[in-house]
Amino acid sequence: MSRTRARLAATSAAVVLAVTGMSGAAVADAAPAATAATGSAVVTSSTTFLKDQALNGIVVIPLPTADPAYDSTTGITTTFPVTGGSGDLPAYYGDIDLGGGLLFINLFTGKSATFKQLHFSVGNWQITGVPVGGTSPVALLDPAGDSQVSRANGVQTLTSTDLQVDPAGAQYLDTKLKTSFFKGGQSVGSLAINFTPAS
């Protein structure tokens, strides 16, 4: 049974990477300026979450310019590049704009949801995304667990040992994908952000 689950997870991961690599879905990102903000948000999806996803027919695909990688021990690590924003992580205000997007597919129902215009809202501590065809951002993921923030040499960082599905995001995804898989507070993995504001 555990071997089956592991295979499912590995298959799911492979699908994610393959689809991402072939995806032509272009997500509108802001054109970087010469003095643009830089950095990244790295979301690590744990193997536990990946297994649960696979068993429920859920696939999450990072869209360009997000950069996914898979490790059998740590799970899928997706790097979202910083594209702008004026957030101040140690002061808990502002926003950080992220490139790329997220595609959620329910393989059992064939339903999907795509989010673009990803942000990390520093004031609310949420990763939000705007559904394709919509205008209002949906809170998707919340840092949780042991979180540390810092600022050194102009670079702001946030690391959180846990990353959880936001209740609003869970409700949106469950409705859109016709599943009951997503739950508010569901642990996804972990988060690491580094951000250098534009100068």
Partner: protein
Amino acid sequence: MRRTMGKLLAVVALAGSLAAATAGPALADPPVLPQPQDIVGVGSHTTGPLFNAFSAAYNSYLTGLGDTTSPRLYSWDSTGPSPITTKAGAPAIVRPYDVGTGLAAFNSVFPAGIDFVRADRGPQGGDPTTDVFVALAKDAVSWTATNGGHAPANLTAAQLRNIYSCTVTNWRQIEPSLANATIKPFLPTAGSGTRSFFLAAIGNPIPGPCVTTGPQENQGTDPVLNDPDVVFPYSVGHYVGQVYYGRATTTDAPGPLTVRNVNGIAPVNTTAQTINAAFAATAFGRVLYDVVRQAEWTATDAHGQALRNVFGNLGWICRNSVATVLIKTHGFLTLPLAACGSSTHS
């Protein structure tokens, strides 16, 4: 029988906690000598009253649960008789009167005598990297002036920088229609977090010879501040607590001072009786912290657990509804739940 007793304890705990949350100014200093295992703090005046209220409510919460053994929470005011003995077995020390003197005592004297420092600034150069700043709430800092005095309703950050560097010394240099009078900029004590944060927010001027240092932060009752030309930085949250939530005392009050705008943004939302969120989302918004030692914060022993039980993301301050009410009714803004208890260090 057991269920009835449980309900009774819960009711007692809730009643005690609510009473603590809705009361006026909390008692100053620990009412008993804290024991060695207790969690004892010193430091900033900005969160002094809040921590007095936290202490009363947290200890009441534990008692209400029938818990007679867990470490209790105590906080020493930044004003009052000195020296003080922070807990049983600790040596007497000069009472710390701001975050700077609090950290100095925390890092240099009998370590077990102080378990945390109330900090109204973030880590800065010179702080030991082993000091962990644990986020508690949000505040903001603005400037105040005497009601009916010569100061305008608004100053820009650049004007404040010029005032504190003494390149602008007369109100007429701000606006020709203002009084022809000499501006009297004041700053709180040298180790004040409100002072260092305010100076950083206005561009880090070196205070000039026209600046007077000395008054306790957030206490407009100091007679030297009762002058029509005074400019004095002030915690907006502390001000809101004093003005709108009955947290003022005879000495811990705005006195003749009123809080003024910076860059055209009002610091207080007078309708909601809170810090103006738009003001807090500028360089004048700040985070309030508890400072603990890294080794103790991460320790798996009873002391480490006790610290996390109070200050951690899953601890009482971040998760208990009474603590949330106390933060708001002392004028401060709560952090997003996940951000409360997050840590940083220099």
